[in-house]
Symmetry: C2
Subunit: 337 residues, 2 copies
């Protein structure tokens, strides 16, 4: 499927859905829409993913099958400055895929245009209607459950999960992926958007996915969300931790991060405190252990400094660690599998 | 307002909304609907609340202004065996108030009957549409925030909150109430149903209430939900803990409870573990302390044994404790205010 990805004014650093799709999805990306970087190319910013031209808007995009909204602002609202791009896409007969909290299918103009031009609006973040409370039985599946947990939002939990998944499969391990956020769901073509479900059903929505796939694999890698110390999103993190009944945790962190992103009054606690907090919180429901760490070193230029940061992180964790994008994951996989 | 309360097959022990309304709301309760106990009276089961006859269904109820659904089954569904009671109520011109996850106003038959007979359907658990993510600013209000937290669901957090509220006001303290569940909202006539909001907005929905009322009182007593170790509901608990940025916590427990209600595989951890867990989890967002405990001793017949249970609980907590329904709350209030 050929797609254009909307990432206005945010590509690449604040467009994690866009970059995730460029890196991991089976889409052919024909263009990225970012009016601030029009005329440049993806490869100038992110060299190790598929390349594509950056254009100012849908009017300048080549022929595609779908427009994907590739940014997820805090709160998940729809920015009215994107309206003309979505309108143009629908008028050109393209489907529109969105992971926003704001549902495109509930937007009267978009719904009418989609009907008129025979296009689909896929609101990835709209939960299905049969979700319910967890029964506390995710530990009954055959698979070992491995969950990525974070020190903050946007530290690379999805990336770490997908990199470790790929590396584990290269070793011949039988691993399934349980996505929990919009990008993961877009990549996998399946999954419950955990941050959008009714709060009472948070753990239940994770459990449902584990019960559905947990007897088909030796391992399930569950994509984590948020952080247990996040002022806004900790509820989601806690629901995933208890609902997944994870056997092993991989703690994800971004090198140099000192405060919660967007909540600068909230300092990042010491790494060993996270280990205790995640393990202590999980224990009453299902005993678990932080067995490895994934450090996002993308803000560090040279490999030697990045390697040093990983070593420091490993010492604080007292467990194997790597940056699975930059370095190999062998030792970390030994601890996980 | 004169009401009938629906509590089929669950009154009183599994009908905490019904009992909460009988005890704390300003409603005149004219009947309780419970087909299993028809012909008896409320006072035979619960002596210390307003009395009312128990009837088999709405056909046998005296004239009232509203029917209130006073039970909240796990999952919050609508039991079809209640349909004829709701239908009869609407046909008699009564409003219907419900805290179920299932919204009566989305039920075609009820919506039509309500329109036809000029009745209101009030779905207490339907969140308003402007909720969003927390900003992490609940600590900026003038009031000290006191939150009840639990070892489990249904241990008496709402009851403890309301009893302590009443006792504090009797001492002359200037205290506001922040309800978070259907019964509290029915009693207060205001509030966000935290267990029903989008999971990403859990903390934000609590914060919104605190910002709205936090400068009008010296103290806000926030009704807690669930438990941080609950296999299904911990997400809600965690969101309330971080969203409220509570200054003081009151740990609520039910004497004799050994496993999570309905999740018998999940043992109740030792009380000191709860203290550590709640305090450690809150700290990165807002430093807090378990300053007191509330023990629900309703399953203990004699006062002496109940007093002993409170003493044991106090020792485990290392803080003042009481059963605020059964004993006085002076020492606990000293610790809270």
């Amino acid at each position: 499927m050929r797609v254009a990805i909307l990432a206005h004014e945010k590509f690449p650093d604040r467009a994690k859905t866009a970059v995730g799709l460029l890196r991991y999805a089976d889409y052919e990306v024909e263009a990225v829409l970012d009016r601030e970087s029009a005329g440049r190319r993806v490869s100038e910013f992110v060299p190790d993913v598929q390349d594509a031209p950056i254009v100012a808007g849908m009017d300048d995009a080549p022929e595609v099958d779908a427009l994907v909204v590739g940014i997820a602002p805090i709160g998940g609202g729809f920015d009215e400055s994107w309206r003309s791009d979505v309108r143009t896409a629908l008028e050109r007969g393209c489907d529109v895929i969105s992971g926003l909290h704001y549902f495109l299918e509930d937007d009267e103009e978009f719904a009418e245009l989609a009907a008129e031009h025979g296009c689909d609006l896929w609101d990835v973040r709209k939960p299905h209607e049969d979700l319910t409370v967890a029964q506390g039985v995710a530990d009954e599946v055959d698979a070992e459950i491995v969950l990525t947990v974070g020190t903050d939002c946007s530290v690379g939990k999805m990336t770490a999960t997908l990199e470790l998944l790929e590396a584990a499969r290269e070793r011949g391990a039988d691993v399934g992926f349980v996505p929990t956020g919009q990008t993961g769901i877009m990549i996998e073509g399946w999954g419950n958007p955990i941050d959008r479900v009714v709060s009472d059903f948070t753990a239940g929505a994770v459990e449902e996915m584990i019960l559905e796939r947990g007897n088909d694999y030796d391992y399930l890698f569950v994509e984590g969300q948020g952080s247990i110390v996040h002022p806004a999103y900790s509820a989601v993190t806690c629901g995933i931790l208890h609902g997944s009944m994870a056997d092993r945790l991989v703690l994800c962190h971004a090198a140099g991060r000192e405060a919660i992103h967007g909540y600068e009054d909230t300092q990042i606690p010491p790494i060993p405190d996270y280990v205790d907090l995640y393990e202590d919180l999980a224990r009453p429901v299902h005993e678990t252990e932080v067995v490895a760490g994934a450090l996002n070193t993308k803000d560090i230029d040279d490999d030697e400094t990045a390697h040093g940061a990983v070593e420091t992180f490993r010492d604080l964790l007292d467990a194997p660690a790597t940056d699975p994008v930059r370095f190999d994951a062998e030792e970390v996989l030994e601890a996980i599998l």
